[in-house]
Symmetry: C3
Subunit: 260 residues, 3 copies
């Protein structure tokens, strides 16, 4: 039998004991689980960043993996703790939109509110459902528990309202910067497949005409645009930070001019 | 048989090769070990922070797990390297107080000074006992070595002197901020169980009257007090940092007023 | 049979989905692999730092481990993706010098350019060979694939040109600071074995005469020199940062005066 595989994605950072407590809970229930850290550095409280992160990593994981996601600013409030079965993978998370982009991709899912106290910690705190609800539920799923045992089925999950790029006349597409990565690459919400041949782009007051295949094709100090590894257009430099050099920020508007 | 489980807690940070060297040593001795990173971001040299971190995470781990802890400002000095059996778990660490709060909780332990060179690296450096003593000793324990083989038994371990809150007249309890977490929540040393019904708290020159159940119950910009996931009272905001907004620092005095 | 062991070393940082995508790819091909994070915080684009990191950690890992290294500023350019068998371990990385110090140590290796698309992702992006080439190749090696199947053998790998210390008259050795660690210790390229008995050292305009065995032997505020855990001389304080207190930077010149 395959060994149980549980991944963790949180905004807990790395210095606090919160992630370790979750790992302990998981291993106490499912001693053979392999726990794989995805990220604990999602921007605190950013459900959008988390949703985007998951959409670019989860699709690479094998079937039957169990994904625990704790970016949970509403912990203890009315938002529901849920377990979701989608594309033959399991997700355990708050129902706050973190699965938005994966649902957009896979469409079909079955979702269950986690209410069965038998699969939670004996005491449930008001502030740490990662430890008290999500970790134990995930460990039970990884141990083979039928997801229906966790609670009643929900008809739908909360979905984030995501701004899409807009196609204008004359072959323009207007979008915005939605993420800045570790290298300072400024990633937009415009997918390469949405545009024709790109002639130039405009961002803030800069016009960029260099359309590159990869980072190292760019001369030092010259900004370029390329399609990143998930297909989204990004403003980049070769071994320098577009975020720093062009002072680009999340939310900045980007216009793509194409040949049609 | 259960697979060997070894956790790592250090103040090494993430960029240096120190943690990787320890992982290599462990896997060379105990190839089947599952190594679980707890944190490598304990505040450098902070034995107190490490002790608190362990007290809020280790209790969730299963029996027979082996916990390696390397926050070790006195490496190479007279402080002893030790292996400890407590609450059916193993701990391998410097004898410098990192187990203080766990010992306070579990009371009974057996401790052994690690002196048997057979279970250390062939050469022991003066500056990196994590790699040369703690990692190999832990890997041998995880492989089934009897802890008594590591060296002679010690009658007691070094314990940190920890300041406790003080109960005053009129139902006040005075404590201090001992930790600020990744979200800027300011955590005190006053456990909820030490107080009656809280009426208000005072910290620096701020009076806080909002006693909340969870973060999301607080209106934006209004500070509150709540019992965190380990039972300690913390000064918090909803999705904002109390550390930043109220300029609260570690060591700041906190007075709780209760109804008796 | 031993379980497959794959380590990851990158400059991706911790917030982006790049590392998680690689983990997913690996586990989809080799479901039983144990993935061990070494570091994702190598200084961005720093091939030298990466080479040094590997030389101080990889030697501790067991035979047959598979090491994936992605510090890859030239991704998508002419630099080759390679798989290397050396000292009974496997390395999967760009041919850009990251193995320089390991090759200097182990001398013999066999290297293969990864060209067989059968062992890559179906589509190979121009910007993320970690996910599309290195992760799948490593997972296939960990699953038992013969390394020769990945592509044609290369006669040599790219090697970094590394500056060595210079021995002068009168028993001096002149080197430089090549790395500053998490604690602010300033590590030089002068190995203890290159010098005789040290009398004093000079760095910037500071003369240091305190030669210490370990950090805790130094009085507060007094800088010292000691041989770190990999044998290189470092400028240090006891529980303080030499980097901060003496304003030492990477590249600063260091002169060791010995008794001959």
């Amino acid at each position: 039998m395959e060994k149980p595989l549980i991944t963790l994605t949180t905004d807990f950072g790395l210095k606090d004991p919160y992630t370790a407590a979750m790992k302990g809970v998981i291993l106490s229930i499912c001693r053979n689980a392999d726990i794989v850290d995805l990220s604990h550095n999602i921007e605190p409280y950013s459900i959008f960043n988390c949703a985007k992160y998951l959409s670019e990593s989860i699709p690479y994981f094998p079937e039957s993996s169990v994904h625990v996601i704790v970016v949970d600013p509403g912990v203890g409030s009315q938002r529901k703790p849920v377990a979701v079965f989608m594309h033959n993978r399991y997700f355990v998370c708050p129902d706050n939109g973190v699965l938005t982009m994966l649902i957009d991709r896979y469409k079909n899912y079955r979702a269950f509110e986690i209410t069965n106290r038998k699969y939670c910690m004996p005491e449930i705190s008001n502030t740490f459902h990662g430890r008290d609800i999500f970790a134990p539920a995930a460990a039970h799923l990884a141990s083979g528990l039928n997801i229906k045992k966790l609670g009643s089925e929900l008809t739908e999950l909360f979905i984030l309202n995501i701004k899409n790029p807009v196609a204008g006349n004359n072959g323009t597409v207007t979008g915005e910067i939605v993420y800045i990565d570790n290298f300072g690459n400024c990633i937009s919400n415009i997918c390469k497949s949405m545009t024709g041949k790109i002639i130039k782009i405009e961002i803030n007051n800069t016009v960029i005409t260099r359309i590159a295949e990869n980072y190292s094709k760019l001369e030092k100090g010259i900004p370029g645009v390329l399609a990143g590894s998930s297909g989204y257009l990004e403003v980049v430099f070769n071994m320098e930070s577009a975020h720093d050099l062009l002072n680009i920020k999340k939310g900045d508007k980007l216009v793509i001019y194409t040949s049609g």
